[in-house]
């Protein structure tokens, strides 16, 4: 009976469903995309163990825009690296110097990221070698012009040719390719597939023409010692940089926890902002549902009167309208969830192809529950409440209404 009610009032049903679909879809996409991005970043961070800390040049950024300043600051030098390695409880110091450069092989040439580091960067980034080998301490000490290339670079520049042993020109320097990385997804600050890894002394001297590092990963021997190590790093660097006042630090140390927190905060703010947009569309959808439900019940007062005259009780009228509302909003809800999932995947793949950020699509249960819950509630309340009023009337009164 309720089902036939839905098909009988097609345009009303379609409009109601549309309101719900729009509401749920928008809420779901926003929350899912937000959580996907968050998931990506957190996963990226977890990859470096919790006993790792990062030392970055410049002042600790307080907002979004200040973050770029750290890339240009040149306060972290080789001496700092060497001194930090001497700190007790420090088991590894991995410096990073990176930039983009024109990379060419025979007639092919493209701009790519080149990352100069020590051999430990392989472990740091959890890089797997597809063929050849990663560079080792010897290569670093010898300032060997060797490079390990990302999977996509191999595909783009070499195609079917085996790149191992081939000469690759990076800016004006020739590197010998010693290894190819296995294909790997996007990282938070590097696209491994599109990068070249090489010993940092050569990258600094021959490609970047700099003597500083943009980032240094320091590993403590245990999680418990991280805080001590941070204090030691600050002490050593202040001494090296002749700083007395911690306010004037030209570097800062980030623990994994802090990184996670700051990223969590940024994505959290974004999710809230986008969530507001979604909430507005949910409200708009809800108002639509509300309107259509109210109008339709008013329109159907005569029908209610007739049904009562035919022996329908108040309960059976309520039951009918409740079932109709649930089927409509539920149907719209399921449609909205499907559409939301589809759009989330679309958004993720668009982000991948246009912005070159790849992250796994996370379907937000929160979004589904929120979207479904709110629109179903609206549908039921505004479908059933007026129906209840109409069902209360004496059948003859309802029958007489125009």
């Amino acid at each position: 009976m309720a089902v036939s009610g839905i098909f009988v009032h097609k345009s009303r049903s379609i409009l109601t469903t549309l309101g719900i679909v729009i509401g749920i879809t928008s809420v779901m996409v926003v929350i899912s995309v937000g959580e996907s991005a968050q998931g990506l970043v957190l996963q990226e961070i977890q990859q470096f163990g919790p006993s790792n800390v990062f030392v970055l040049p410049g002042k600790e950024p307080k907002g979004f825009t200040e973050g770029f300043g750290t890339l240009l600051n040149d306060s972290l030098k080789q001496k700092d690296i060497d001194d930090m390695a001497k700190i007790p409880n420090v088991v590894g110091v991995v410096p990073y110097a990176f930039g983009t450069a024109l990379v060419s092989f025979e007639s092919e040439s493209e701009r790519r990221t080149i990352i100069g580091s020590s051999h430990s960067s392989q472990e740091n980034f959890n890089l797997e070698i597809e063929s050849g080998r990663y560079f080792d301490t010897f290569d670093v000490d010898q300032k060997a012009r060797v490079a390990v290339i990302g999977y996509d670079i191999k595909e783009d520049l070499f195609g079917q040719t085996d790149p191992i042993g081939k000469k690759l020109r990076v800016k004006n320097t020739t590197f010998q390719i010693i290894g190819v990385l296995a294909s790997k997804g996007q990282g938070s600050f590097v696209d491994y597939n599109d990068s070249i890894f090489a010993p940092y002394p050569v990258v600094q001297r021959d490609v970047l023409g700099t003597k500083h590092f943009q980032r240094v990963a320091v590993e403590a021997d245990s999680v418990e010692n991280v805080s001590n190590v941070v204090l030691d790093i600050e002490r050593v660097l202040r001494e090296n940089h002749n700083i007395d006042d911690p306010e004037k630090d030209d570097f800062f140390v980030q623990t994994q926890e802090e990184v996670a927190n700051s990223i969590d905060m940024i994505t959290g703010v974004l999710t809230v902002l986008l969530g507001c947009v979604a909430a507005i569309s949910l409200v708009v959808g809800g108002v639509g549902i509300m309107n259509i439900m109210l109008v339709s019940v008013t329109e159907r007062t005569r029908e209610i009167g007739l049904r009562k005259a035919m022996g329908a009780t108040r309960k059976s009228i309520l039951y009918q309208f409740l079932t109709e509302a649930i089927l409509l909003t539920g149907g719209g809800g399921i449609l909205g969830v499907c559409l939301g999932i589809a759009l989330t995947f679309l958004a993720v793949s668009l982000a991948h192809s246009f912005l070159d950020i790849s992250f796994p699509a996370v379907i937000s249960i929160k979004g589904i529950v929120l979207g479904l819950g709110v629109s179903t509630m609206i549908g039921i309340i505004f479908g059933v409440f007026p129906a209840r009023q109409a069902a209360k009337k004496a059948p003859i009164e309802a029958l007489r209404s125009e």
Binding site: S4, A309, G311, T313, S316, A394
Partner: protein, 240 residues
């Protein structure tokens, strides 16, 4: 004959902004099984109010109403709904069909509230639809039918529950005279077969086709007469 309906001092008072309107003032009447009663009177006389109370669509303000000896005036909404569903059939002036449902669905409607199985619903509905001669229109939406056809669907819907009495409120009021005749003829036929029928009308030629006439004036029974020269509506068959 068995008594189907009895009222004692039945009164209905409507209150509107403190002004009381006495629609019925102490009606005593009795209707036996198998009767064909026409309730007549000018508009505002209270004849529709009487029918609504007898049809359990409304409640009396005072007085007693017995239907098959049941004390209807004490019944709850739910109990009234059950009586309407199982014992009473209605035919309205405005047909009151659900326009976007098929003939079959409209006729099956009362059976839904009785919990009849879908299969039995369809069987019963098909039987009465055949009776009113609309088998070939069974899947039509009722909005596509003519007025006379609509009223026949309404009669089929009233009949499908096999009620003790059918109340018809101005059943010919919205019809042209030819379609009206068909409907009246049909009600007469049903009465011949033993159905109890009460028809509310303000037109004397319609009332003349009944067997008994109750004149209502100012909420009271003015005259209760047996129609001696009953008008038998010509057998025309249903126009299709």
């Amino acid at each position: 004959m068995k008594e189907l309906i009895r009222t004692e001092e039945l009164a209905k008072i409507y209150e509107n902004d403190g002004v009381e309107t006495h629609a019925l003032r102490g009606v005593d009447l009795s209707i036996q099984e198998g009767e064909f009663v026409a309730i007549v009177g000018p508009s505002g006389s209270g004849k529709s109010t009487l029918m609504q109370i007898l049809g359990c669509l409304d409640r009396p303000s005072k007085g007693k109403y017995f239907f098959e000896e049941r004390e209807i005036h004490t019944y709850s909404d739910e109990e009234l709904a059950k009586i309407r569903n199982e014992r009473i059939g209605f035919v309205f002036q405005a047909f009151n069909l659900l326009p976007r449902l098929s003939v079959l669905d409209n006729v099956m409607l009362p059976l839904i509230y009785r919990g009849t199985s879908p299969k039995e619903r369809e069987q019963k509905a098909k039987k009465v639809i055949e009776l009113v001669g609309l088998s070939d229109r069974i899947d039509y939406h009722t909005s596509r039918l003519s007025g006379g056809q609509k009223q026949r669907v309404a009669i089929a819907r009233a009949l499908v529950t096999d009620p003790k009495i059918i109340f018809a409120d101005e059943p010919t009021g919205n019809l042209d005279s030819k379609s009206g005749e068909v409907v009246l003829r049909f009600l007469q036929d049903l009465n011949e077969e033993g159905h109890t029928i009460a028809i509310v009308t303000h037109e004397s030629y319609v009332a003349q086709s009944a067997r008994r006439m109750l004149h209502i004036v100012d909420g009271e029974i003015d005259k209760d007469e047996v129609i001696t020269k009953r008008r038998i509506v010509a057998q025309e068959g249903f126009s299709k």
